[in-house]
């Protein structure tokens, strides 16, 4: 992510020669500097290594064993867990669900979020309040949102009745109980929960689009829509591309909402890679197998991230387009 600009050249060269660092030859000073760096960096590094990196590496290691997490780790089976996982139709379905959610999230939330952001970027009364309200679902805990929707979607619940009261009673469904419907129900809830994030991000990006361009375009006789399509949206490109990236990663990691609302059911119809991982690892104590699933999950996310970075986001991080701070 282009959050940091690479070291500004002028500064990097100026530094070592600067007045305060002229005494570089003195070893006492050098040791002191090293000690300071160590003091500042080591606590964070230790925490990061212990709870992030080591477990990640361990997951890769455990994935090579048939292991329940309790007994001795001695049943080495190589890539057996991997072929088992990739051969399990339930897991393959879960990967498919994740990829479908990735695609649908982008197809639904991008136009919706962009449209709303463009509208809200205009001078309307109560814009600030509206922005705050739109962000509310995103701020709610997944569990809280999931439980509320679970209750709303129960048979003869408020969703069914509300639809009936506007004459759509015929469309009643087992929203979360029908394997053919459940994934699309989840998509609606996910859109509700996460589109606010897209809107806020786009609105933030829109602040970087100079007003003068709009005014110039308006003077040239461009319609509002032409201006948005030809000027605003292209200028919003970097923000949109980052949102797509974050959305993809989030869709692949989906767990809380699904676990609360369906538990991956019915009949695994709404399972995701992470719900599969948790049910295998923690409900069946298949730690080796679960680790293999975790590694596959990581590989899929990583591949997607790298591919996207290379194909789409590269131009945003190229030095020429980087903002100089």
């Amino acid at each position: 992510m282009p959050t940091h600009t690479p070291v500004t050249p002028g500064r990097a060269t100026a530094r070592p020669g600067g007045p305060a660092r002229a005494r570089r030859g003195s070893t006492g000073n050098d040791w002191r500097r090293r000690a300071e760096v160590a003091l500042l960096v080591l606590p964070a590094l230790a925490l990061f290594l212990t709870f992030v990196l080591v477990p990640m590496v361990q997951a890769a290691y455990y994935s090579l064993f048939n292991w329940n997490g309790l007994e001795a780790l001695d049943d080495f089976i190589g890539f057996g867990n991997y072929s088992l996982a990739l051969g399990d139709p339930v897991f393959r379905d879960a990967i498919g669900h994740n990829l479908l959610i990735v695609v649908l999230s982008i197809l639904i939330q991008l136009p919706l979020g962009l449209g709303i952001a463009l509208l809200l970027n205009r001078d309307i009364r109560g814009r600030g309040v509206l922005r705050t309200l739109i962000f509310v679902p995103y701020v709610l805990a997944e569990v809280v949102a999931g439980v509320i929707w679970l209750l709303m979607l129960q048979p003869n619940g408020v969703v069914d009745e509300a639809m009936a009261s506007v004459g759509l009673g015929g469309l009643r469904q087992l929203w979360l109980g029908d394997p053919d419907v459940v994934l699309f129900t989840l998509m609606v809830v996910l859109t509700w929960k996460y589109v606010g994030f897209a809107i806020i991000l786009f609105l933030a990006g829109l602040q970087g689009v100079p007003q003068e361009l709009h005014e110039a375009a308006a003077l040239d006789g461009a319609s509002w829509w032409q201006t948005q399509w030809n000027i605003t949206i292209p200028l919003l490109g970097p923000t949109i591309r980052i949102w797509v990236f974050l959305s993809m990663i989030g869709s692949l990691q989906l767990f809380d909402m699904v676990w609360i609302m369906t538990g991956g059911g019915p009949a695994n119809a709404s399972s995701t890679m992470v719900t599969y991982l948790i049910s295998q690892g923690f409900e069946r104590f298949r730690f080796g197998y679960g680790s293999a699933v975790a590694v596959i999950l990581f590989a899929v996310s990583f591949l997607l991230a790298i591919t996207y970075q290379q194909l789409v986001m590269r131009r945003d991080t190229a030095p020429t387009s980087g903002r100089v701070r």
Binding site: A44, T50, Q58, Y62, V143, W149, W259
Partner: protein, 304 residues
């Protein structure tokens, strides 16, 4: 200072202009031209607001009804209004204990993540040492490591360290996974402090740790608040890690409490709605207070 810091000002001036400031003339022409479509804009805004808030309103109002009322008429308003459900939750120890647990866990997570993160970010931005960029890249790679991938070994590790069922057992891993974002957001902040300032402090005999403590920290306040809010909200809402680490109900955080309560009282919709509604109050209040920071933080994370 950084762009993150300036953004609220930009917004403020935007608002000012729409209020008819000196630049008002520039806005007036397009606005008049779009007179008809302005109605459409308000319409869309109204639809969006309703769609956004309906579930929340349903939960809050539903909890003022009885389960009987809800079953008989799912869409109706409370009639009569019943406060029993809310009273029952507010007078139960469970809710308050879980709220307290959540507060402690989230605070601890935030303090650890921000504290260690800003120290590392300071070293990574204002010291020259071998392997600096490599170390920074190493931290940023953490952005690609999701907690879910490490969850099984993490669970075993925490059990081995006897940290299951403890606040630290949740806070330490959460802080560790929040570190990359913290470092990535804070480094540009600290880097943006002028060299002259540091040199002046050094000449005055301040020392670089002194400069960090007395000058860099206070000056990066807005950045610290941003990363702090992000870490806090994330920890407050977290479900998976607490679910696995916290086995005893006494240690439950609010999300765990909501999940448990809703399975325990499946039949009592109104009671579940009351518990859930009250559980979202702290997050909403916190969000309203810190709203600008959350948005600013996201902006800062996206556009350097």
């Amino acid at each position: 200072m950084s762009a993150t810091d300036q953004r609220p000002d930009t917004r403020a001036s935007d608002g000012h202009r729409s209020g008819g400031g000196p630049a008002g003339t520039l806005d007036r022409a397009p606005r008049r031209r779009l007179g008809v479509s302005t109605v459409a804009v308000y319409l869309v805004a109204a639809v969006v607001t309703v769609a956004t808030l309906a579930p929340v309103v349903y939960a809050v109002l539903g909890a003022f009804r009885s389960t009987g009322q809800i079953t008989a008429d799912p869409v109706g308003l409370p009639d009569p209004w019943i406060s029993d459900n809310y009273v029952a939750v507010l007078t139960s120890d469970t809710f308050w204990r879980q709220a307290l647990n959540s507060t402690v866990v989230a605070t601890l997570t935030t303090v650890i993540a921000v504290g260690l993160g800003v120290m590392a970010a300071y070293a990574l931005s204002r010291y020259q040492f071998r392997g600096r960029e490599a170390l920074y890249t190493f931290f940023t790679l953490g952005l690609l490591f999701p907690l879910t991938v490490a969850i099984l070994p993490l669970f075993l590790l925490l059990r081995q360290m006897q940290l299951t069922d403890t606040t630290l057992g949740v806070a330490l891993p959460q802080a560790a996974f929040a570190l990359p974002m913290t470092v990535v957001i804070l480094r540009p902040f600290l880097r943006a402090l002028p060299d002259e300032l540091e040199d002046a402090a050094l000449v005055d005999g301040c020392g670089r740790l002194g400069f960090f403590w007395r000058i860099a920290l206070p000056l990066s306040g807005p950045g610290l608040i941003t990363v702090g809010v992000l870490a806090f909200v994330q920890s407050w809402n977290a479900y998976l890690l607490p679910l696995l680490v916290l086995g005893s109900p006494d240690a439950y955080t609010l999300p765990l409490g909501v999940a448990t309560f809703s399975t325990q009282y499946t039949q009592d919709t109104a009671a579940v709605l009351a518990f859930t509604s009250l559980a979202m109050v702290p997050a909403l209040v916190f969000f309203l207070l810190a709203q600008r920071r959350i948005v600013g933080g996201l902006t800062g994370a996206v556009k350097g």
